[in-house]
Symmetry: C2
Subunit: 144 residues, 2 copies
DNA sequence: TCGATTCCATGATTTTTATCATATTTTAAG
DNA sequence: CTTAAAATATGATAAAAATCATGGAATCGA
């Protein structure tokens, strides 16, 4: 469904958010360990997220990544996905046809549109706060 | 959403079906041209589909690919997807966690499950006959 | 039987994605 | 002001996906 980049990105963001909940700033090493992802690759992803103002980075000793509590409820999954893989998943044709459109639909256009809209709505309506609180309460998990 | 393999595979199958509607057997060259796909790559895909009894192949002069009219309504999109990319799309965790399950869910487990089920249902309920007839009637298109 | 046409099998190459490595910049602390 | 701990930037490598190429096997018509 999603690329590794996106999977790691979402996992990392949720982890950072769950730590920021209790005012914990977390570093790259810790993040990679906790979400079980390759460190250097994760670093690249975090940079992109940082540039897109989804997470906040602090350099230097005692630095790390965090997400201000106030913004947490306003960051949606859709923003993470868009930052990491563009909006192809929201707009692209299910069969990969570049000229597929409402007026010139592919055979599965309508059926795919429905699914895509559901997916888009889900990503749009899911914010970081609820995901992080699931982790905190122990109802959901990012690893073993 | 899907791999190129799957996109080409679905497009090719629909095209073969639409031709089989009027008892036309079609060859590799023609298929690749009509669905705008790389010929050799398409050949490999067709072989897989053939082995999975989704399409029927005939070797030799005048040979090609076809789909018996009788079976057309019974071949579902889900079969094509499963043959070409396995059932990861139906069962895999949205965040790529191998240990994600109902009892040990990832943060987006339920939300993704809903989408995946919708997708699975759509693929399960869409058969080749309806897709091919859309092409035939000129309501839908596989290319310009 | 022979030759042309077509699918089939397999492996090589290219492109994309994922991963790794190294050097740089920033910053807190002593 | 120096040092160590962090993020950042950039490029190299590895793995996977997509594409290409080549020879083989089956089938039909002459």
């Amino acid at each position: 469904m999603f690329s590794k980049t996106c999977e790691y990105g979402i996992r990392a963001t949720i982890f950072i958010a769950s730590e920021s909940f209790q005012n914990n700033r977390v570093g790259l090493k810790d993040i990679a360990k906790k979400i079980d992802s390759p460190e250097a690759f994760t670093a690249k992803i975090l940079q992109i997220l940082s540039k897109n103002n989804i997470i906040h980075s602090i350099k230097g000793v005692g630095g790390g990544f965090e997400i201000p509590k106030e913004t947490m409820s306003q960051i949606k999954l859709s923003q993470i996905v868009t930052a990491l893989e563009g909006n192809q998943v929201f707009t692209g044709c299910g069969l990969g046809l570049s000229h597929c459109s409402e007026e010139h639909p592919c055979p599965v256009h309508d059926k795919f549109k429905f699914i895509r809209n559901e997916l888009a709505a889900m990503l749009e309506n899911t914010n970081l706060e609820e995901l992080a609180s699931g982790i905190k309460s122990g109802d959901t998990f990012l690893r073993y």
